[in-house]
Amino acid sequence: MIRLAALLAAVLSLGAAPQPAPVALDALLAEAPAPTLDAYRLFTDQGARAPNAGLTPYALNTPLFSDHSEKSRFLFLPPGTQATYAATGAFAFPVGAALVKTFAYPADLRKPGDQVRFIETRLLIHKPRGWVALTYVWNPEQTQAVLKRAGARLPVAVIDHAGRPLTIDYAVPNTNQCKECHSLSGVLAPIGPKARNLNGDLAYGSRRENQLAHWTRTGLLAGAPDPHAAPRTAVWNDPAEPLADRARAYLDANCGHCHNPEGMASNSGLFLHLEETDPANLGVRRRPVAAGRGSGGLEFDIDPGRPETSILLHRMKSREPGVMMPELGRSLVDEQGVALIADYLRSLPASR
């Protein structure tokens, strides 16, 4: 009965509109990047609202703050291939895999999902010679996204959380800057799709399911244990979770991709990824090395118990280039993130 219904539906839809062409694997694997996003056929409509077959949406327990933009993320795997589970680090993805991330703004930040304007769609494509990072910037008509390699500044007008008009000086990174964040010992790599970041529920249509379980069940992922046995990053804004876990998750997502022994800030010796356990490496009573004016005249990266004298927070609160951290990817202050980290620093025992 159900099968018959499905068949009928398929026939009907076939009659209504031709089956959309599949994702253009040849375009994904081509040596040169496509000049426009539509060439990859990752989406079936002009405005890239409808993902093509083979794209799976995903979300991270704790995302990166990017000037209040809304983000949607998808994984594409070539038919018949799988990603391989890893307990730490990003999963291993087959050649031809693509990770897709769109940055968008609603007209009014208080009404997420409403009157959403796409700004850029970023891709990480796994080519035979390694990962390649590309970004496509949307036209005002929202009909086409064009490759942008050298970066750009785009003024984005929105209504802010307090109901006031706000113009965000949105920065599209140049493709070298993609690598500044996305690098492991100088090699371009994905950041988000790790077991611990995906170990949470997502709505798939009307049904909620753990993402690791879903990826396993649908054949996208091989080798994953039961989600309960997999590591998990805390949800930074879920007050039900312990403060320290939320703060460490926030620092991991917003800082840890540069501040780790293989990242762009490796030489700072300040390591903020979730796997770091040494308090000194995490910044506790650590004196800055090359902070310059970024020190704000303060002595320690983290002065435990005292957010107001911690360089780490000072740099999160700054909007000045040369001071602000992250040094790329934002022009606004993440007030909610600042409040979380301030609470966390206050909670650290001040004993010497």
């Binding site: 390699r149 050298a150 970066g151 750009a152 500044r153 000086d169 920065a171 140049n174 493709t175 070298n176 800057q177 690598k179 500044e180 100088g186 022994p261 762009m264 490796s266 030489n267 010796g269 000194a280 490496n281 650590r286 004196r287 800055p288 090395v289 090359a290 902070a291 310059g292 004016r293 970024g294 020190s295 704000g296 005249g297 303060l298 002595e299 320690f300 360089i311 000045e320 280039p321 040369g322 040094e327 790329l328 022009s331």
Partner: protein, 408 residues
């Protein structure tokens, strides 16, 4: 047959290679609107072997620039002729970032970046030649930290570079290996030239003047690369370093007293010779141990295996910017002896021999501190010289073939 076939292949390959080299392109970028996008595009488009040539005039940038292609030369029309201005910079931690190998940046001025000037991270064979990197508003706490800033790099050449106005160091080499800094000028910085947590450096024929401290060789704890050693500092003019310290507090250089010629902290195997050192109100050459607390078991906070010889010392030490400095100066005849050692020979957890020093130039003031930084407990003694000869000097630093061309 097979052999000759292979030989043929080899010849074809060689010809092809020559052809590729011959085809090395020059990508020219001139000042004007959209300089940001045009230059950044050239830096992305460049292929190994290419030259990115910047025309004369002033370029205004709104964001940082970066280069990640090996063996590219970025050249301008000359210092002061091609000027890259970052006064309007809105993002990134430096003006120009280089993350690839075999890169040369030369013949231009880069100024007023919001963070560091030019940084190379993890680069092999990185050359900075005939550059001026400066902050044009004079020495200010809000200036960027470093002018020229190779870090975690190998085979570093800094030649005919001027670093001016940095709130940390005009020319700074950190956590790097095999380094030449020569024919350069560092002025109006907190530190003129600084070699930190680095190994095998030759610093010679430079001028360091009007900084807070002229030339610094430091080693700091808690960094991925530690245990810096083997630096030679020779034939430099280290004169009139008289700029009040303007480093933001919290940075290690904020503790450098005004008027230090050469300062060595917690490093091994440093030879200082044949320099002209004068006009530095605190000290000509100062050897100190790292005095802040540290947890790092593998860190040695003492300067050791240090030789200071055959320098030409002028007037130094007349108004030492040290705690109790005035009194010390009065007690030692109005001026501090030009060579100063804090006299610290041990630290918690250490039971090895006292550091070996040969301070042939003198007189030498030994503060005989029982512990790093305990200036109140000083028992100063003055001797004509200190230690004895015999510490081996490392051979000259040699850079890979093709990197090091002699200065014109």
């Amino acid at each position: 047959m097979a052999t000759s076939k292979r030989a043929l292949w080899g010849a074809t390959l060689a010809a092809a290679l020559v052809a590729t080299t011959a085809q090395a392109a020059t990508l020219t970028v001139n000042p004007g609107p959209d300089a940001q996008e045009r230059l950044q595009t050239a830096l992305l488009d460049a292929k190994p072997g290419d030259v990115v040539a910047l025309g004369a005039g002033k370029f205004d940038f709104t964001d940082g620039l970066s280069l990640d292609v090996d063996n590219v030369t970025v050249t301008g029309a000359g210092q002061g002729k091609t000027v890259l201005s970052f006064a309007g910079q809105k993002g990134a931690g430096e003006g120009l970032l280089i993350t690839s190998d075999g890169v040369t940046v030369r013949d231009l001025t880069l100024q007023d970046s919001k963070g560091d000037g030019i940084k190379s991270k993890g680069a092999d064979r990185i050359s900075f030649v005939s550059l001026t990197v400066q902050w044009t508003g004079g020495p200010k706490e809000t200036n960027g930290a470093y002018g020229v800033y190779p870090v975690s790099s190998t085979n570093v050449l800094i030649d005919q570079v001027t670093g001016r106005g940095a709130s940390d160091a005009g020319i700074y080499v950190g956590q790097s290996k095999n380094i030449i800094v020569r024919n350069s000028l560092a002025e109006f910085n907190v530190a003129g030239i600084e070699i930190e947590n680095s190994t095998d450096a030759d610093v010679f024929d430079n001028v360091a003047t009007h900084n807070t401290g002229g030339i610094l060789v430091f080693d700091l704890p808690g960094l991925p690369v530690m245990g810096g050693h083997s630096t030679r500092i020779f034939r430099n003019k280290v004169v009139d370093n008289d700029n009040p310290n303007f480093a933001p507090k919290g940075n290690i250089v904020a503790s450098v007293p005004v008027g230090v010629g050469i300062m060595l902290m917690a490093n091994r195997d440093v030879h200082v010779f044949d320099n002209d050192i004068s006009g530095n109100q605190t000290s000509a050459v100062m050897l100190v141990s790292f005095s802040r607390s540290f947890d790092d078991k593998s860190y040695n906070p003492l300067p050791r295996d240090i030789v200071v010889r055959d320098n030409r010392l002028g007037r130094n030490g007349w108004l030492p910017g040290l705690p109790g400095g005035k009194m010390l100066a009065a007690a030692t005849g109005g001026s501090l002896p030009p060579i100063l050692w804090d006299g610290v020979t041990t630290y918690p957890g250490y039971d090895g021999p006292a550091p070996r020093l040969y301070l042939k130039d003198g007189p030498v003031l030994n503060l005989n501190l029982p512990k790093a930084g305990e200036v109140e407990a000083a028992k100063p003694t003055v001797t004509a010289t200190l230690g004895s000869p015999g510490l081996p000097e490392r051979a000259a630093v040699v850079l890979p073939v093709g990197q090091d061309k002699p200065a014109q």
